[in-house]
């Protein structure tokens, strides 16, 4: 038995804890969710058990208006939140990419939103968005503008949610891009300067192309995360006004945790998973991130 040697035993022992964790916390719940999605299991009717319904849940989901409205809301939220975060995060990283004394302090300050518990931050925003007592309307009124109903007008409510997401996650993009900037080679920039290129030209023709794999990585992380945003929406609007800010994740939560229809909710979650997998695979292939080589040491 060549396989059973000291080295392999050591490797297996080292891998066992993480394998068990992966199986217990990821693979097993996923398999259960997958199975549940093909049943009508409900905590309200546990005596009925898990009765198989085939693709009935999926067919029903795709034929309801609610699904398509929440899918559209999820796409709008994700697109605008991630796009603005990408622009702001990259700009912040580039602006702080120098050796001044204040840069490290500023970088630390900009990272603070990442350190705040999302729910705690969201509750603070709930107070700040308060139309009568909130600080946002206070500043608007002090500047001579009319106060806004931040969370109770359909379009504005979605914008408000995007604002909170941008505040919280722009530093994440900044962090990844800053790491990318630090690892870029100096030669292309020096030669560009020798050739007389300006800062803006260098940024668009050298910095950005070289940062592409880092940006792609940041974007893929953020899209997956923004697609399943829950806490901000649940606390601030609860999916309202009407159903205008109900995203797919919020719908899955409602069906699972409020209606206790676990089979139907699991189908919702599986659909979300498939959308994310499909999108990320297309994105990764299009951006060619697997074959890009950067920053030779």
């Amino acid at each position: 038995m060549k396989f059973v040697n000291k080295k392999n035993i050591f490797i297996i022992l080292m891998l066992l804890p993480s394998t068990f964790l992966l199986l217990g916390l990821t693979i097993f719940p996923f398999v259960v969710g997958l199975i549940l999605g093909f049943t009508d299991f409900s905590l309200i009717r546990p005596q009925n058990g898990m009765r198989g319904v085939g693709f009935e849940n999926y067919i029903e989901i795709f034929t309801t208006e609610e699904f398509w409205i929440s899918f559209k809301t999820t796409l709008i939220f994700t697109f605008f939140a991630v796009t603005i975060q990408l622009i702001l995060g990259t700009l912040m990283a580039v602006l702080l990419h120098h050796n001044s004394k204040t840069a490290p302090i500023m970088r630390a300050l900009y990272l603070l939103p990442l350190a705040v518990t999302p729910v705690a931050a969201t509750f603070s925003f709930r107070m700040m968005f308060n139309p009568s007592l909130g600080v946002f309307n206070f500043f608007l009124e002090s500047s001579g503008f009319a106060p806004l109903a931040w969370l109770s007008k359909p379009d504005l409510a979605l914008i408000s949610l995007i604002i909170v997401d941008i505040w919280q996650w722009t530093p994440f993009i900044m962090l990844i891009v800053a790491g990318g900037l630090a690892s870029l080679p100096n030669e292309p920039f020096e030669s560009a300067k020798v050739d007389g290129a300006g800062d803006i030209q260098i940024f668009f023709h050298h910095t950005l192309p070289l940062l592409k794999p880092y940006l792609a990585l940041a974007v893929i992380f953020r899209i997956i995360d923004a697609f399943k945003t829950f806490d901000i929406i649940y606390v601030l609007t609860g999916g309202g006004p009407g159903i205008s800010t109900r995203t797919l994740n919020l719908m899955a939560y409602r069906y699972g945790m409020e209606y206790l229809e676990l089979g139907y909710a699991a189908s919702f979650a599986i659909i979300m998973l498939l959308i994310i997998i499909l999108f990320s695979q297309i994105f990764l292939r299009k951006t060619n991130i697997y074959s890009t080589k950067v920053a030779r040491l």
């Binding site: 009568s132 007592l133 007008k153 999916g239 006004p241 159903i243």
Partner: protein, 471 residues
């Protein structure tokens, strides 16, 4: 199809009290509580609590049961952050001294609690042994709650004459009774009703009278809605646990229902639509900008900050309004009956009793029952009510310490609204096994009405979706 059981509010004959606590007991308790009132608090908990509970211990000794029969056990009581926990916690040492049972609290935020408990109980967990019940229909249908009638009727576990069910509000006794099988699945621990609160200073300044009808309420809200203050604050958030509760009171007061006695969706009736329309109009024209995102917290805060002339929400807000450390309107808040709808002599405010139930899988059922009996007993209710908790006992509501803590006028208005409320209408909707799906649609309809959408269209659509959800 579920049939309405007309006898479900009746208690079995063997549960009728045959001996009440003596007058002397209550005089003794009241004297103790009066003395306690002058003592200070420490760290949010009253320092007098344990001492006075010790003095009340002889009252527990009068119960003809063995309080020590489950001595040495530990029970877990689960719930959300709520004054009920805050007010009975100071007395738990006395419970342990009396029974030898240790109580461990598991308190979570609202969201955590309502999310975790169904999963936990659905998975067959033996804890919490006792838990706060918010959706009776779901819990009963899923088999999570232990039927309690056997515990009430077991003389080894309960001294009914000492416990004095006659002292408990009828609505509180009826609340945990499940209509389909006439079985009691819980015990009510608090009482609250939809109550009108008004800022007297603002009304006096405008020369307006406190509204008695819905039309007067609308007119007053519009007249008092200036740039600096709102005419009224009401919940508007499109969530099943937000706008639906005060909105439900409107629907009931207009003669409508959310779910009828047969368990059918009824909130698209003409009466209900008129109510939903009026709710939206009052919010739109008399409420603050952005009222569509308000939950109870925003309503409480704005009224307490003196930013609104009126509010219509839970009577339990009175404890906060009356507290000058928190409230700017402690001296100027007047409580009143919920205004009546056109053609009706009085309103049917919404109401609520928080309940506790016993986990059907609990391994400590005897101890759990002793705790439930103790915490809802006359002496403990007297003590918790002296801290401002709106319990379910008449003796506690009429005690001087409670009216001092809660406000006598607020207590009077709350009781009046509670007696006008129709518990059946509430239970048909909120205790429906599919309450989550139904109330979600009611919330969307009310919120859309606030946003000025076509009421008939949104209500019909919401009702159709609710029907589909429960079919």
């Amino acid at each position: 199809m579920k049939k309405k059981n007309n006898n479900k509010f009746m208690l079995p004959p063997n549960r009728q009290p045959f001996r009440k606590l003596t007058r002397r007991d209550f005089v003794q308790a009241s004297a103790i509580l009066a003395g306690a009132g002058v003592l200070s608090t420490f760290n949010g908990l009253p320092v007098f609590a344990k001492a006075n509970m010790d003095e009340l211990m002889p009252m527990f000794a009068k119960a003809n049961i063995d309080w020590k029969q489950a001595s040495g056990t530990e029970i877990v009581v689960g719930g959300l952050q709520h004054p009920w926990f805050e007010k009975h916690s100071p007395f738990l040492d006395s419970f342990t001294e009396l029974t030898g049972i240790t109580v461990k609290h598991e308190i979570q935020s609202d969201t955590e609690y309502v999310t975790e408990i169904p999963v936990k109980l659905g998975g067959g967990s033996t804890t919490p042994d006792v838990y706060m019940v918010w959706a009776l229909g779901q819990s009963v249908a899923a088999g999570w709650l232990e039927p309690l009638d056997g515990y009430y009727n077991d003389p080894n576990l309960t001294d009914l004459s000492w416990y004095d069910l006659g002292d408990v509000f009828n609505s509180a006794k009826a609340f945990p009774v499940w209509a389909a099988d006439n079985v009691t699945y819980g015990m009510s621990v608090t009482a609250e009703a939809e109550t009108l609160f008004t800022n007297k200073t603002m009304f006096d300044k405008a020369g307006l009278a406190i509204p008695k009808t819905m039309n007067e309420l609308y007119d007053a809200a519009v007249a008092l809605n200036t740039g600096d203050q709102a005419g009224i604050v009401l919940r508007g958030k499109a969530a099943g646990d937000a706008v639906t509760w005060p909105g439900g009171g409107f629907i009931f007061s207009y003669g409508g229902a959310i779910v009828d006695a047969n368990g059918e969706i009824a909130f698209d009736s003409q009466e209900a639509m008129e109510a939903i329309d009026m709710y939206g109009k009052i919010c739109r024209d008399g409420g603050p900008i952005g009222i569509g995102s308000y939950h109870w917290f925003e309503c409480l805060t704005e009224f307490m900050e003196g930013r609104s002339a009126m509010g219509l929400d839970s009577s339990n807000f009175a404890t906060d309004f009356a507290n000058p450390e928190k409230s700017k309107v402690a001296d100027t808040t007047v409580y009143g009956a919920m205004p009546s709808a056109p053609g009706q002599t009085s309103a049917k405010p919404n109401m609520w009793h928080w309940m506790i139930g016993m986990n059907a899988n609990s391994a400590q059922k005897k101890a759990a029952w002793l705790f439930m009996q103790w915490v809802t007993s006359p002496p403990t209710s007297l003590m918790t009510s002296s801290l401002g908790l709106a319990t379910t006992r008449k003796s506690a509501w009429s005690s001087g310490d409670f009216t001092d803590a809660f406000g006598s006028q607020a207590a009077e208005a709350s009781l009046s609204n509670l007696s006008n409320a129709d518990g059946d209408l509430f239970k048909y909707a909120w205790f429906h096994p599919e309450a989550g799906a139904i109330l979600d649609q009611v919330a969307i309809a009310l919120n859309s009405s606030i946003n000025g959408e076509n009421v008939e269209k949104v209500v019909k659509k919401a009702a159709d979706k609710a029907r589909k959800a429960i079919s």
